[in-house]
């Protein structure tokens, strides 16, 4: 699965994208965020506060209980601040 990071999530984690092999039990956006925290201390720190970690699946905003699959494009980012 391809994961994209934006804004301070990108700078805290240190990479804009990564390709990950999902364990089968990681089947929702929220489970993915929890699983990503275990990848490194940087991930754990960046993703610590789930209130400010938003998820998009295939370029649509989704809640944490949204299902995910290996072919999805998943992006993690802070609340948006455009306009």
């Amino acid at each position: 699965m391809k994961i994209l990071y934006f804004a301070w999530l990108r700078s805290k984690i240190g990479v804009p994208t990564e390709i990950v092999e999902l364990p089968p039990e990681v089947s929702t956006a929220g489970a993915l965020v929890d699983w990503l925290k275990t990848r490194s201390p940087r991930h754990a720190e960046a993703l610590a506060n789930s209130k400010v970690v938003k998820v998009a699946v295939n370029q649509e905003h989704v809640p944490y209980d949204h299902p995910i699959s290996a072919t999805d494009e998943v992006a993690l980012f802070p609340p948006v601040t455009g306009g």
């Binding site: 994209l4 934006f6 804004a7 301070w8 998009a56 370029q59 649509e60 905003h61 992006a75 980012f77 802070p78 609340p79 948006v80 601040t81 455009g82 306009g83």
Partner: protein, 152 residues
């Protein structure tokens, strides 16, 4: 219909002229232009860099435009949003709506800006004398967007 996400500046007068040219059914146009301020949260801002999510940005803006057209009788909609490094006074965003009557144009323009602020994937990084800082989302923006929730 037009959604444009670009690094370059835009000319408000030229955009207005193109938007209305030859369209005599339009009774009113409302335009909003957002600018980079030189102060935010009490700190001087010398520059702002807008990051976005190419692909999702366009997709979200198109969905927001579609929703505006579903709610109001609009002759046309224009949304231009810049990304990259901007300085105080620079234009960031422009939304224009055209309708036969002013109410639809006023309301839909405000709706587009309110929804854009909470749904379009842009993030602002400000340069201040204390260093760079990411702008935090405001509860007031969520409240402004929530006003437009439809009663079911």
């Amino acid at each position: 219909m037009a959604i444009r996400v670009q690094a370059g500046d835009f000319d408000v007068g030229a955009e207005y002229a193109a938007f209305t040219a030859g369209r005599t059914g339009i009774g009113g146009v409302v335009m909003f232009v957002g600018l980079v301020r030189d102060i935010a949260g009490g700190a001087a801002v010398s520059a702002m860099t807008l990051e976005h999510y190419p692909g999702m940005t366009e997709k979200q803006l198109e969905a927001i435009e579609e929703e505006a057209r579903r709610r109001w009788p609009l002759d046309d909609v224009l949304v231009i949003h810049r990304h990259g490094r901007l300085e105080p006074g620079d234009r960031i965003v422009m939304v224009a709506t055209a309708s036969a009557h002013r109410d639809a144009a006023f309301e839909s323009c405000r709706f587009l800006m309110d929804w854009l602020k909470t749904k379009a994937p842009f993030w602002k990084l400000e340069a201040t004398p204390e260093g760079e800082r990411w702008v935090e989302a405001k509860d007031s923006d969520d409240a402004a967007a929530a006003r437009w929730a439809e009663k079911t």
